[in-house]
């Protein structure tokens, strides 16, 4: 299932949106920045490899800017 590289513009938009929230699901990001969810998923995959975003599991999986959400105290 080769999906090719992510669109750099989508990656920038994802980062910009995640800057405005604590965490989000990619479906929500897609709706807010107006691109197909599959493109967001691909952008998030690359951003995670670049250590710019991370996945959080809090009963469902969210994405957030790396380090934005702290582990439990």
């Amino acid at each position: 299932m080769e999906k090719g590289p992510a669109n750099p513009e989508v990656k920038e938009k994802v980062l910009a949106y995640l800057d405005t929230v604590e965490k989000a699901k990619s479906k929500e990001i897609a709706a807010k920045i107006g691109v197909p969810k599959g493109d967001v998923d691909l952008a998030v995959k690359e951003l995670a490899m670049e250590d710019k975003v991370e996945y959080l599991y809090i009963t469902t999986t969210f994405v957030a800017l790396k380090g934005k959400v702290k582990p439990p105290q």
Binding site: K27, D41, D51, Y55, Y57, T60, T61, P71
Partner: protein, 395 residues
């Protein structure tokens, strides 16, 4: 620090069944985290409550799952389990191993964690139980170099798993191991980078005995079946009769559809093919004499899950019979449509079965393009409240 006493857990070292306490103690000889786990568990046995906090934000680069964060709520008293995370390792199809494979895993785990494992976890992954945050990436890197990969966790495709299938079972109606391996490799993005409302599980059983409980716990259960008639070997029927098996009582009378007739005089078993529902009973009792048919494939069922949130669901039939041969194009195209529909319509933490139940089977079938067939239901609706589509109404 002197060893603490664990009198309650020590009680669980008695008795004939192998003891998990003994296992923790073995690991505790060489590992401080395992020792603290033992002490913390004794504390739980005293307090009658667990002492673990929520998972959270741990993982390895490029993955959105495969690691489950755990922190004790008593880190001052049990510092070596202040971080005690779980790593899920994607197991080979049907859990076949060479000893050298297992030894490699043991050597990696001895270096980086508690030395405790689950073989296996409920989903089917091999579990490394208890590691510090700083060890996660190092452990993954070694695992990856040695040819292993992480399983799924979170709102993703969970690690597919399958029964022993044609590797060692005469009843397997399709190659469960091959399908499991193919789906796992085809859907690496879906497995490793959660992107859905909630989890999604594939479980594969080669026949209706369903040895991996696919129907009870998989959002998509793939259960082997055949479309023609069972095959009966009359010589073997005679052999069973002569060995003393009560064929009338244990086979024919227990056939749920009364599809079998036994001729006592000739010692022959006859099947009324159109009455057989392919439940596996007669094959289970007389495996030498009765075998599945020749036209083999699988029944696809959807929606299985445990209790949370809306009650447990058993998967229900959506495709009575599908050939299950590589490259599985028909199956994968259908799965893609189903995932898109769920992703589009599902609420957070809504499993596929609950979504179909909320929006209706009719809408689901229409929107993913599956034809309605009577095998999908035990019986049709008893109410007349059909939501008629506009294009079927005379304007």
């Amino acid at each position: 620090m002197p060893d603490k006493k664990t009198p309650k857990l020590d009680e669980l070292e008695h008795g004939p069944w192998p003891s998990f306490v003994t296992e923790i103690k073995k690991a505790a000889i060489r590992n401080e985290s395992a020792k603290d786990l033992l002490n913390l568990l004794e504390r739980s046995y005293d307090d009658k409550r667990g002492h673990w906090k929520h998972g959270g934000i741990v993982g390895v680069r490029g993955y959105g799952g495969g690691v489950i964060g755990r922190y004790t709520d008593l880190p001052e008293e049990y510092p070596h389990v202040a971080e005690f995370h779980t790593m899920r390792i994607n197991a080979p199809s049907a859990w076949f191993y060479k000893t050298e494979t297992l030894r490699t895993l043991c050597d990696i785990w001895e270096k980086h964690g508690s030395g405790l494992t689950n073989v296996h976890g409920s989903t089917g992954d091999l579990i490394f139980l208890g590691m510090k945050t700083e060890e996660l990436q190092k452990t993954y890197d070694e695992l990856s170099d040695a040819g292993f990969d992480l399983g799924g966790s979170g709102s993703c495709l969970r690690s597919p798993s399958c029964c022993v299938g044609p590797a060692r079972c005469e009843s397997a109606c399709y190659d469960t191991l091959a399908l499991c391996y193919d789906l796992t490799n085809s859907y690496q993005d879906e497995l490793h980078r959660p992107m859905w409302p909630y989890k999604f599980k594939f479980k594969m059983s080669g026949c209706a005995n369903d040895c991996v409980a696919a129907i009870a716990r998989a959002d998509c259960s793939i259960i082997g079946t055949w479309r023609d008639s069972i095959q009966v070997d009359q010589d073997q029927v005679k052999a069973y009769a002569e060995s003393g098996l009560d064929i009338q009582g244990m086979v024919c009378d227990k056939c749920p559809t009364r599809a079998l007739k036994y001729d006592h005089e000739k010692k022959e078993l006859h099947v009324i093919a159109e009455d057989c529902s392919r439940c596996m009973h007669c094959i289970n009792v007389m495996p030498k004499a009765v075998r599945p048919g020749k036209e083999k494939g699988a029944t696809i069922l959807l929606g299985g899950k445990s209790t949370i949130v809306q009650s447990a669901f058993l998967s229900w039939v959506i495709v009575p019979f599908m050939k299950m041969e590589p490259p599985y194009t028909e199956f994968k195209e259908m799965v893609a449509r189903i995932w898109d529909w769920w992703d589009e319509n599902g609420k957070t933490r809504e499993r596929l079965g609950e979504l179909i139940y909320r929006l209706g089977m009719t809408k689901f079938l229409r929107e993913v393009g599956l034809p309605p067939v009577p095998q999908m239901v035990f019986r049709p609706r008893a109410n007349p409240y059909v939501f008629w589509p506009q294009d079927e109404i005379v304007k």
